[in-house]
């Protein structure tokens, strides 16, 4: 019987915006096992691992390693205790070779110089020991993603990691690279290492993991032997709504086709193909929801729709006119409004006041400015109206936006985007990371606009939101739609979960386009 190597007991972590990321979580790890940590985005698994690796400190709770209670205050201490982490976003220096990245910080020396021969030898040795077959003299920037990940794993092993935390390791890998990774992991297991495998990809977890722990909304839903559960059962535990809020929706009243997408293909800045041939139409008067776990191409799709990505293949038409070659200003003048995923980077200028932030998209419209000057009184009055309409909790329109709470900042974004007489709204994770009150408010507003005849594209990883608000719902998985549902009220969470996790996929997508 394998011993327990690690215990995390009653971990509580509350972020400064009030979100309870870890709600009294306990986790127990056996030596030599590959243990999956499952959950949707926001379930709290990243936070728990950050605590284990010393990047975050919990409000309360205990960590017991090999029977001894330990305090992990920073990554260096975690490394010393034999805990290594392979992050989703690689922590490598691009211009360095593999060997240089591995020995960084613990460089072997020859006099005052770095003994690069020894460094390469040591790197080669550990690479062979785990059968990684790497050319340690190669520069990291030239390597494919799968190899980069191996380097990250080697970095951790080189520093004596007994417990390896892998954060969504296959998110960036091709199927072949994933296979290779699994072979490595099995070898690591043979050598006695313990692995925590954070993921939401059920088929992979079934393949490689011994046990799994499911997290949902900051709580531990249970630890199970992988063989004891079917993917359907896992999905049901992972994907579910604790709170079901019903919304009153007016009858569907469709008008013109506002947005039309055909054969869309988009690559991200790293060169990976994230959208793999999408087709859909959205008409005025409906909310077209796109569900899916984050990272399946939704970001890239949203950016294309908002005009932020100009390099794509396929067709994007807005009210019949092709969007290729149109500037963001042109798109906005056609009625496009965008609630960005990352409000702090794209949605606001945090050091400026509300007044300045509320009109960045419409300041040059006639009601707010003449030929040269801004019209101060109309703007200030409009600002006051928006603040009260959108229940933005701020001192006045002179308050700096950065001082507001997350929910209120999002309300500023929403107030701005919704007040410009929009005809097409792209809402990308509009209620992520904000308080319940603000979230409810924003959802009500989306419905209002839909009732007024706006075309709303709602991209959301929040089940409740996307199921309750959408008139039509498509699920995005690996850059494609795995399914589309015209009757959302008949859809269950379990079914939706299966599509989101790729367990089920439809071939023909009826109702995705209006022919």
């Amino acid at each position: 019987m394998a011993d327990t190597i690690l215990e995390m007991k009653n971990i509580v972590k509350i972020y400064s915006n009030g979100v309870v990321a870890n709600d009294n979580i306990s986790l127990s790890l056996k030596k030599g096992e590959i243990h999956a940590l499952l959950g949707e985005n926001g379930a709290g698994k990243s936070t728990l691992m950050k605590i284990l690796f010393g990047i975050e400190t919990p409000e309360s709770g205990e960590i017991i390693l090999n029977g001894k209670s330990v305090a992990i205050r920073n990554p260096l201490e975690a490394i010393k205790l034999g805990i290594g982490m392979v992050h989703q976003h690689f922590m490598l220096v691009p211009s360095f070779t593999i060997a240089e990245n591995i020995i960084l910080g613990v460089e072997p020396r020859k006099g005052i110089f770095t003994d690069m021969d020894k460094a390469e030898e040591l790197s080669r040795r550990i690479s062979d020991e785990y059968n990684f077959k790497l050319d340690v003299g190669e520069k990291v920037e030239n390597l494919p993603v799968g190899i980069k990940q191996k380097v990250e794993i080697l970095k951790a092993l080189f520093r004596g990691a007994e417990i390896l935390i892998l954060d969504e390791p296959t998110a960036v890998l091709t199927p072949q690279e994933t296979e290779e990774l699994f072979i490595q992991l099995r070898r690591l297991k043979e050598k006695g290492h313990t692995i925590i495998f954070i993921s939401h990809k059920l088929d992979e977890i079934k393949q490689i993991c011994d046990r799994l722990t499911i997290m949902r909304n900051g709580k531990n839903m249970g630890t199970y032997e992988t063989t004891d559960l079917t993917t359907k059962e896992i999905s049901r535990l992972m994907v579910g709504r604790d709170v079901v809020t019903k919304f009153d929706k007016a009858a569907l009243n469709l008008r013109e086709t506002a947005v039309s997408i055909r054969k869309l293909e988009v690559w991200n800045t790293a060169g990976t193909k994230k959208v793999n041939g999408l087709d859909f139409d959205v008409k005025e008067g409906e909310i077209f929801g796109i569900a899916g776990v984050e990272g399946n191409g939704q970001s890239e799709l949203a950016q294309v729709l908002a005009g932020l990505i100009e390099n794509y293949k396929g067709e994007y038409r807005i009210f019949g006119e092709t969007a290729k070659g149109l500037s963001i200003k042109d798109l906005r003048s056609k009625g496009m409004s965008y609630i960005p995923e990352d409000r702090m980077t794209y949605g606001i200028a945090e050091n400026m006041d509300l007044l300045s932030n509320l009109f960045a998209n419409q300041y040059d419209k006639e009601k707010y400015s003449g030929r040269i000057f801004l019209k101060k009184k109309p703007m200030e009055q409009a600002a006051k109206d928006l603040i009260s309409q959108f229940l933005i909790k701020a001192g006045s329109f002179k308050t700096k936006v950065g001082m507001l709470s997350g929910g209120n900042i999002q309300k500023v974004v929403v107030a701005r985007e919704f007040s410009d007489d929009p005809k097409v709204i792209i809402a990308n994770q509009p209620t992520r990371g904000i308080d319940v009150g603000a979230a409810e408010f924003i959802r009500k507003k989306l419905l209002e606009l839909r009732d007024k005849g706006c075309a709303v594209i709602l991209i959301s990883a929040d089940l409740n939101e996307v199921m309750e608000l959408s008139d039509r719902l498509a699920v995005m998985y690996k850059g494609e739609f795995s399914g589309v549902f015209k009757d959302v009220s008949a859809l269950t969470e379990e079914e939706l979960g299966r599509y989101m996790l790729g367990i089920e996929k439809d071939e023909g997508l009826e109702g995705i386009v209006y022919a």
């Binding site: 922590m91 220096v93 691009p94 211009s95 960084l104 910080g105 020396r109």
Partner: protein, 308 residues
């Protein structure tokens, strides 16, 4: 003599090496700081302060080496000061550098007057300069001897410094850490490197190199201090570093180009075929043109990656 004859004459090449010296020190100083991720615009001010401090100590102690040492300590200290301002007080690096340059510009005039009563030129300070060296065997070689021998010791040092900085950055653990901190501080942190500590070290080294450059101006070529004698060489170092891709070898090549342009200005002062004032512009125009070409190349390369 025709222009080509002048440009290829050993005397001219000698001058090139001489005028390249302060520029190259400045460039190397910018390079080290830049590699650690800090934009050091204060090189100009550090050079000026070092030039004065060197002269003062050399005069008071009647020893040029102690003067040099004092200059280096001053340079290193200001480098650390910049670190405190940028890393600890979170001042914008450009504004902190500008503040230091402003304080140096006025402060050196102030200090000079305080110490010697001189205004403008340190005439009453009998500062000893650092020696010029005639290298025994090389001295005899025709052509090369004239070019390479009888330079100030700091000129020989700066070219050695290129090698030293290169080795330091690429062959030592410290250099590896500096480059990692500059390229991806998260990567450095993830292996337990104290990012700020490395940056302080880099800035101190940067200050010392700049100080060498300043000391050369007041104690190598001349033996006195003049207000504003750095004449923008610190800023040229910024440009040269940018064009050299933040590498010591790249910086060497660009600095030499600048040195050639600068030497031409010297030469044409006497050989007047082009007006001196226009010739003075050549180094700066060359730098801008070079910077434009270099940046354009980099932009095209990045576009190619995205469009693949």
């Amino acid at each position: 003599m025709s222009i080509t004859e002048i440009l290829l004459s050993p005397d001219f090449l000698f001058v090139v090496l001489r005028v390249t010296t302060p520029i190259l020190f400045a460039t190397l100083a910018v390079t080290i700081a830049a590699r650690s991720g800090v934009f050091n615009i204060a090189i100009e001010g550090i050079m000026l302060i070092a030039a004065l401090v060197g002269v003062i100590f050399s005069a008071k102690l009647q020893n040029p080496w102690l003067g040099l040492l004092a200059a280096l300590i001053a340079g290193g200290a200001i480098g650390l000061l910049l670190g405190v301002l940028v890393l600890r007080l979170k001042t914008d690096a450009i504004l902190a550098g500008v503040a230091i340059n402003l304080m140096a510009s006025g402060g050196t005039i102030f200090l000079l007057y305080l110490v010697s009563g001189d205004r403008g030129v340190s005439s009453s300070l009998k500062s000893l300069s650092l020696p010029n060296i005639a290298i025994p065997v090389i001295e005899q070689i025709p052509f090369l001897g004239t070019v390479l021998s009888r330079h100030n010791i700091l000129t020989y040092l700066v070219f050695i410094m290129v090698v030293i900085v290169h080795f330091m950055l690429y062959k030592t653990p410290l250099g590896l850490k500096i480059r990692s901190v500059g390229e991806n501080p998260h990567a450095a942190e993830s292996v337990g490197i104290n990012v700020h500590k490395i940056q302080y070290i880099a800035l101190a080294m940067s200050g010392v190199l700049a100080a060498f450059g300043g000391a050369f101006l007041s104690m190598g070529y001349l033996s006195w201090f003049t207000n504003g004698m750095t004449a923008g060489r610190g800023y040229i170092g910024l440009a040269a570093n940018a064009m050299g891709g933040s590498t010591p070898i790249g910086g060497l090549i660009v600095s030499l180009i600048f040195g050639i342009a600068d030497a031409m200005a010297n030469v044409f002062q006497t050989g007047a075929s082009l007006p001196y004032e226009l010739v003075q512009m050549i180094p700066y125009i060359t730098t801008i043109a070079g910077l434009a070409v270099y940046s354009l190349n980099r932009k095209k390369r990045q576009e190619r990656i995205i469009n693949k």
